[in-house]
Symmetry: C2
Subunit: 427 residues, 2 copies
């Protein structure tokens, strides 16, 4: 499982990853590619040159400017393409003439990652945000109101404000209540939320439901998601209809869609929570295979603009997806149980991925107890007197999530790249 392409040990894009994305360069229009080590492999040109002609599928889907059509194909097509890509890129490939030993083609299809601009990988029809991490629910909601924890709670989010990593956004204005008086002001409680999200590949017709044990066939792959939140606006508006302007100003995702095939070695059983009874799961949520969540570490870094913020490695949190209590399959089964149709490109997210300790939380709301206890980033490499302390986000802050699955097998990491965004001042 090593490649003839030199892949640094710390690369997110080992040969066993092969995530899908949409990129462009100064000279190449928006197109589909896969990341391998320090390169993007141009799958449009590969398809145009007939490299996939041994596989029976509609190859125009790989020549599109989004992944929607390709993602909607049968899983077996995706598996066959993946297998062929691994063969083409493996050190001991028997297909050397198709790529490794074809200097001209390599020049055409292997583009340095640092030369490309990434785009939203799919046209997003609907975006749904779930709330399936019990620690987050416990920290945020349970004090306020009785909340059901025996089903994957969710709300519909805003698709039009989902942007690709690297897109800055303005601190939102909104209605904030102070001394019982609502005023319009820029949020003073700007926060992030660490989430994982699945892109739907193959959907369902309205009125039909997706069986929980078949639901993974509907999932094309997974990205990181930052559900930026304005807590003061959110709390002023959420009763009784849920979050709205407190959430819909921006949602960032990482550009590379990591497939479930790539994540298969990192499957794990959901944790059981002694304080949360999951025994009474209704049958439509009951999965035959219990190892339906993934073991992925997500680090949250914050780079501030002022000098006292300049830590060498300003890591705020180290999150883990093993705290997720409902799988994407369960989320899909719940979402469609009443007949709601899913379409290729729809996005479903986990909600904030918080763990039991303060270093494992997924948002500042929890870490600072709604701004009352400032939180300090850990200095991995301490430098003279520098520190970084926040209650909520400041203008100029750059927040980046980095995630990878790594089983220490030496076969390389399966990483997600960066999901980052910078806070611009309010207008």
């Amino acid at each position: 499982m090593h490649s003839w392409i030199p892949i640094p040990a710390n690369s997110d894009f080992s040969l066993r990853n092969l995530p899908y994305g949409v990129f462009s360069t100064d000279s190449l229009s928006q197109r589909i590619g896969t990341a391998i080590g320090p390169y993007v492999l141009d799958l449009k040109v590969m398809a145009q040159e007939g490299v996939f002609s041994s596989i029976a599928f509609d190859s125009t889907t790989l020549k599109s400017s989004t992944l929607n059509a390709y993602a909607s194909l049968d899983k077996n097509v995706h598996k066959a393409i993946r297998q062929l890509l691994v063969q083409l890129l493996a050190k001991d490939t028997s297909l050397g003439s198709a790529l490794r030993d074809n200097t001209e083609r390599k020049r055409r299809v292997l583009i340095p990652l640092h030369d490309v601009k990434m785009h939203l990988p799919m046209s997003i029809g609907d975006y749904t945000d779930f709330c399936v991490v019990p620690y987050h629910l416990k920290n945020v909601c349970l004090d306020l109101t009785p909340v059901r924890m025996d089903l994957p709670l969710a709300y519909h989010g805003r698709a039009s404000s989902v942007v690709v990593s690297g897109t800055p956004f303005r601190r939102p204005k909104g209605q904030v209540i102070s001394n019982n008086i609502p005023t319009l002001s820029a949020t003073q409680k700007l926060d992030f939320e660490v989430e994982l999200a699945a892109f739907i590949g193959h959907g369902n017709e309205m009125g039909c439901l997706i069986d929980v044990n078949d639901a993974e066939n509907s999932i094309f792959g997974i990205v990181l998601l930052n559900d930026w939140s304005a807590r003061d606006i959110q709390f002023s508006e959420s009763t009784p209809l849920g979050p709205f302007n407190g959430k819909n100003f921006c949602t960032s995702i990482s550009p590379w869609i990591v497939t479930l095939d790539a994540l298969a070695p990192f499957r794990t059983n959901p944790l059981s929570y002694s304080w949360w009874l999951q025994d009474n799961l209704l049958s439509y949520l009951d999965e035959k295979e219990p190892n339906s969540v993934y073991n992925i570490d997500i680090d949250v870094s914050l780079t501030g603009r002022s000098s006292q913020d300049s830590l060498t490695d300003p890591v705020l949190f180290n999150c883990s997806t093993r705290y997720i209590s409902f799988s994407f399959a369960q989320m899909l089964a719940h979402h469609s149980v009443g007949g709601c149709p899913m379409r290729s490109g729809d996005l479903i997210a986990t909600g904030t991925i918080s763990g039991p300790t303060r270093r494992e939380l997924g948002c500042l709301l929890e870490a600072t107890k709604n701004g009352t206890e400032p939180y300090e980033a850990q200095e991995i490499s301490p430098s003279d007197g520098c520190k970084l302390v926040r209650t909520f986000l400041e203008d100029g802050d750059l927040v980046e999530f980095r995630a990878r699955a790594d089983d220490g097998s030496g076969l390389g990491k399966v990483g997600f790249g960066i999901c980052g965004g910078k806070v611009l001042p309010s207008i």
Copy 2:
């Protein structure tokens, strides 16, 4: 303002209406048209034949299979097209040779309404449901929890399950709580909600807001909307994130988009509610022109499948949009105040339009006090012993909204056509 096309007095589609829709026939592919009396005028063919060549605009937008591109054009283009259509169709037209006296062209472009199949008029990116009718809020929410009434409350809805009038849907299954035990069952509390909804024509960039006094320029036009709701599912899931599966199984809209130009004669001032203080409106919601809502009557009829349901004219409710307290301009200003981007084809709805009397309510939840007091449809034309009584909807029920604005001026009605849907049994 009379047309050379014979238009029955009770037609929704007088010469001062000219709504936009997307239709097809057995021989014509999906295309844009306007309704005039008993006909659809094929605007694609009109554009192809150069009838609009005197107007400077991108005429390919009228040759599309959805209205998104055309709706995103400047309002002045829409006004010029409307003006030209009125000239072409007016009895005393000076442009007779372009249509009235051109028998061949009339044969090509005037298609009987009963021969066409209507489609969703726009590709819907995001759908948002507001809650801007104080009587509905008062009847449904105020007993339960303190709710803010000084801003247009809203939640994000599901775009993928918005369907055009006439599309049947299955009674949804979902989690229902009985004796504190959740079970998966078909909803026993299936309801409708009478709403008006605006389609966005010209949107805003992320991070920019839409000024309330400029917001009508962003609205292409208005449709009827039925936000079908499963009350038992909705109430089992709505805390703290709002409605989800209780709403996302189906939302119906009427096929014809009525423009604000057509509705201009029916503008009126919002009612003032003595029990609801609107004095403290924040300035971003403060409209210069107070006459920003419309006087439109909406009738709700229900046709059941059993014989005792067979009333001659089974009208349940007579609703009126004059009870709306925030205009679409105010909804848009609120929706975008934090920078949320609107795109052409986005849909924003009013929430249930209920009035002060039982006959003016917009859903069965209110009329039957959550199913505890059966409600009887009024017999406009009484027949022997027939009656129609409901707590919630039964399988086979056909619910239809019909709406029109009519100032009695003799210039004809501005109607919306039908927004209807039939309940199929659960699978």
